[in-house]
Amino acid sequence: MKFQEELKDSIRKALPDLDVVLGWCGSFDPLHATPHFIRREEDIDKLEISPLSVHNLATYLPGLRGKKVGIVVKGCDSRSVVELLQENLINREDITIFGFPCTGVVDQAKIKKALGHAGNVRTCDISDSAIVIQTEDKAHSLTLTQMLADKCRTCRYPDAIISDYFVGDKIGEPAPLETDYAALEAFESLSVPERFGYWLKELDRCIRCYACRSACPLCVCRDHCAAESRDPHWLSQENNVRDKVMFQVIHAYHMAGRCTECGECQRACPVDIPVLMLKQKMNREIRDIFQYEAGVDPEATPPLLSFNMEEENITEKEW
């Protein structure tokens, strides 16, 4: 990336005052990146920014509370930071934010699907428009836009909303490739039994690993998650689909008005359950009723923590 060196310089400048800076670096193969904790000057060189920088590093912030932390953020990641600030879950003065203009990150599931069972990845070259992957048997050229994560195809915030250092030129407000919630709307047009059955079928394969929860930057209950608590005792520990669905509903409702749709829950799911859709549904309703979007204004009050005496967009049932 053009601004990668500039970013490294900024980090180098700030690092002396920080305990750690969160970024990304290469991983087990050329097709993957992994979170990178920069503690010393020499760690800086390993920093890599690319469409493989998929992780939302804001997830680590609440756990690092009390430390001086730098964090490199994509536009979407920055909304999680905003939300954490708004909810008093991190302290602004402890956080140094490095922003850059993000042109989208890949969806590894899409790539995996495109490659088929291709064996190990030897090289991976990413240009502005294509990803060329050399596997053991052949080279695959994939169109970048087709490999982008869904959230990038509808992205309206490519630049970090909040930052102390911003490198590169801001993109501003782009024209999204797709309208948001198209998939949700398609799902909503299904019949009631189809919708009900869908979740039973999808969540039937849930292994209750809670990766969705651990990846979520706003899941802050940590050791006291409703999923494993007996007081309150919302869920049993049994392997039944009812409690699996219920957990997803709890997650979605606890995210209502807070979720920034970073998609980490779904990305983290080892069995590819489309759990983001439930949060999107919440968000769309919140947007329709309250014209509210989470993670854009650190000073805003989330709609479920406030009220109006007269609610403009709520029509109560007449009996």
């Binding site: 039994p193 189809e194 009900f196 919302w234 859709m277 919140i286 479920l304 009220f307 609610e311 109560e316």
Partner: protein, 154 residues
């Protein structure tokens, strides 16, 4: 005891102590006849009602859930029903994505003096649920029906 087969469906009500529970009492004192499906859980305030209770009830086999609190501005705790209104509205709009009709859940306001209104609310909500029929069940005796219905739909 299970619901009376063919006669009743399972309807759960969450009522605030000060207004709606009193309204239901007033309806009783006035001998305003009502369908027998509804079972009332008393809570201090509609603001105490976590919308997840509604989902929990449905997932555990309820066919309908009714929440009732004090009229806006008349909350015994000043603001509880204002919070409740936002949270319950969100949940009502959310339910369809799970595969429950939004009409399986309603929230409303009934004051302690409105016995007749309570009768009206119970009668029409019960009717509404009977029109929808039993909610899909995940586990239990009706789960087989649900699975058959799903198989037919998919």
């Amino acid at each position: 005891m299970p619901v009376l087969k063919g006669k009743e469906l399972r309807i759960v009500g969450f009522l605030c102590n000060w207004c709606s529970y009193g309204g239901a009492d007033t309806a009783g004192v006035g001998r305003f006849n009502q369908p027998t499906d509804l079972r009332i859980i008393r809570v201090p305030c509609s603001g105490r009602i976590d919308p997840l209770f509604v989902v929990k009830a449905l997932m555990n086999g309820a066919d309908g859930v009714l929440v009732s609190g004090c009229h806006p501005r008349d909350c015994h705790y000043a603001e509880g029903n204002f919070y409740a209104r936002r949270r319950l509205e969100i949940m009502q709009r959310f339910l369809p994505v799970l595969g429950y009709e939004a009409e399986r859940f309603e929230y409303t306001w009934v004051s302690a003096s409105e016995g007749q209104r309570w009768q009206q609310v119970v009668a029409s909500f019960t009717d509404q649920i009977h029109k929808l029929g039993p909610a899909p069940k995940i586990i239990g005796p009706q789960a087989a029906d649900t699975l058959n219905q799903m198989a037919a739909a998919l």
